[in-house]
Amino acid sequence: MSIIERSPPIQPVQPPRARRHYLNSGYSVASWLLTVDHKRIALLYLVSITFFFVIGGIAATVVRLDLMTPQGDLVRTETYNKLFTAHGVIMVFFFLIPSIPAVLGNFLVPLMIGARDLAFPRLNLLSWYIYMLGGAFTLYALLAGGVDTGWTFYAPYSSTYSNTYVMATAVGIFITGFSSILTGLNFVVSIHKMRAPGLTWFRLPLFIWSIYATSIIMVLGTPVLAISILLVAMERLFGFGIFDPRLGGDPILFQHLFWFYSHPAVYIMILPSMGVVSEIIPCFCRRRPFGYAFIGFSSVAIAVFGFLVWGHHLFVSGQSVYAGLVFSMLSYLVAIPSAIKVFNWTASMHKGSISFETPMLYALGFIGLFTMGGLTGLFVAALAVDVHVHDTYFVVAHFHYIMVGGAVMGYLGGIHFWWPKMTGRMYPENWARLSAILIFFGFNLTFFPQYILGYLGMPRRYHVYPPEFQVLNVMSSAGASILAVGYFFPLTYLLWSLWYGKPTTSNPWNATGLEWQTPSPPPTENFTETPIVVDEAYDYERFDQQVGTGGAR
């Protein structure tokens, strides 16, 4: 692209290069691979997660290209099944679940609570290695021939019938689960024990509240996933009759176990994003968030209710009618804390002084897409409607609105918000705004038609489909290509900014929060002196009076 300015990088106006920070305190490979600095580990995660995102994205692109014609003539049927499985497995377990907690959480939790590091720095490094080991198994399964069970691994197909690399993939996910448990454990202990003096629970940033709730889910939920995978493995290897009725097992049992983890896992993906948005909105509105305590407690409420609703994935499976009723009602209860958040973010804009830098655009995009995803959640929780839309593209659209529209918008918003803190450089603002807008429109063009497709009756995971569904599928595929371009931009200009980005100050957005009180990039020990907190979070009104700013930059 020729638009990018080619002028030679101006020597930084920044303090002379004498200042040591976490990025220049050692350049050797070992200084990265053996680091126990939470900020370096966050960057290790950033690089590896981006790698998996690209692989998962390529699989999605091929799937969408293939669906442009109803005959499915781009790839073979086996390949198609392996592609959507790879897309799901990689995006869920290796991108969405670790994305915000492992990258932004690792980077920010100690900084935000005024600590020098997490409670267990070595455990933190270990969790990255475990993640990579799990990823290696899954990549091996892909290269060796792939797996075709779908990311849900429903038994008895996965345990008895599939002839693909189920075991290698399952081992990969099993191992990665431990990384999730360790990260969650580390956060819980750090947030309890390592807060700076004066940082009471109700002075905590809302991002910390959401990470705390997320960590609880990771610690309590992930072992159940591990158990279900272990049981599938035992059935495959030794013929234990747990899920296959021919051996005396129960296939519904697998679904209960699987969703007992995988439904809360959706909240592992979305809660941290909500935390990010709760940071961005006050900053770019220059006002305290409306209903701080309600936003904080709603995170906890979502985490708790999130464990009680797994059965709404089983409305047509053969679970009893009465179980269906209970799970449906509980699902509606989760909607309330989620809606409370949307209400509070919107109300936070009232009488604000709003500016629209890239992170704010992502935050607003998040609210829009999350609202759409959340409202369609009411459709799938309504029993009689779910019977019709279950396992159709309606559900595909619904969870992409939540998991991609919600989680990824929050993730990208957070990356842009804290990028100057992480790297000490600014990204090119106009490119960033353009890509945020592209992603928003690309996303809607991709997934909105899928709601209609689903209600018209197109089942999910179909390689070949009736020709009357083609127009909507072509629209969706066109949107996907815009989305792909939108995702490609940040990948490029963020890398570019590492070398050519404008050097930035410690607090480019004039934000409150301890992480902005230390230089950018932060020194290895985070703070030269332990900060003492005397005030609530987000007192932007007073901040602006004292500093005399009208807002960011």
Binding site: V316, F343, G352
Partner: protein, 305 residues
Amino acid sequence: MPEQASTLAPHVDRLYLSLIGMSLFFTLLITGFILYFAIKYRRGNLGVDRSSRTHRGVSMEVSVMAVLFTLSMGIFAWGATLYLSSSRIPSDGMDVRVVAKQWMWKFQHSNGRREINELHVPLGQPVKLTMISEDVIHSLYVPAFRIKRDVLPGSYASCWFEATRTGEFHLFCAEYCGTNHSRMVGRIVVMEPAEYGDWLGGTSPTESPAVAGERVFENLRCHTCHRSNGVATRGPPLAGLFGHEVKLADGRTIVADDTYLRESILRPSSKVVAGYQPIMPTFDGQVDEEQLIQLIAYIKSLAQP
């Protein structure tokens, strides 16, 4: 909106449309507020009052929650009532037996006529499907009827519909079941009752499942223990059994339905009838799903004098 071709479809669509209306309302409300605030309170707009802003508003939060709670419980109740009423299977319907396998749907009508990936049904009469899978989980889905039900291996699932329009409608497998999942499709043909009658009897005479079941029953020599004349011998009598309560040796009482009979044929010692010894051998591996269906149809026929 897809075609409505069953008695259930208009009800589901009414709830669906109400949900769309409600979603539209909330989406527009939130978007409206965001746009209004974004324009009015944008940083460059200097002549706007930003003073005395609240940031707690407990009473407002509580009232918002109360409204949300009432609304969501209302939708829950609506969806639940509809679901409950649609899961009650009418007793006067015609029976169709369904066996799903990778990757086809096999149907059998009560007079014995078989079809693959196609099901002919009459207009305006409830049709009850009793379904089982020979391998993995499948799911029978007819969008025009708004019905879907997972078909499990190892136990019978059932669902029903009453068609309200003649024509051909998509039949899909909705639960991912392996390589040719997307080719496990077919059609439901709804015909005028008279036309259906002609179609059903129109081809070469077929054997009803009950008759076929009697032959299986004799071939497997079941009658040596289970006399059909109602006289108790080594095994409990089968006449008048289906649909009635059975007292088990462990004190429980169970209704003798398809699932119970199937289990008793495959795993006879798991639920032994009170007063009998667990001496029956298993027939697991000797009968396939279709023969099981025939055996049960035969036992069922003994129940009606």
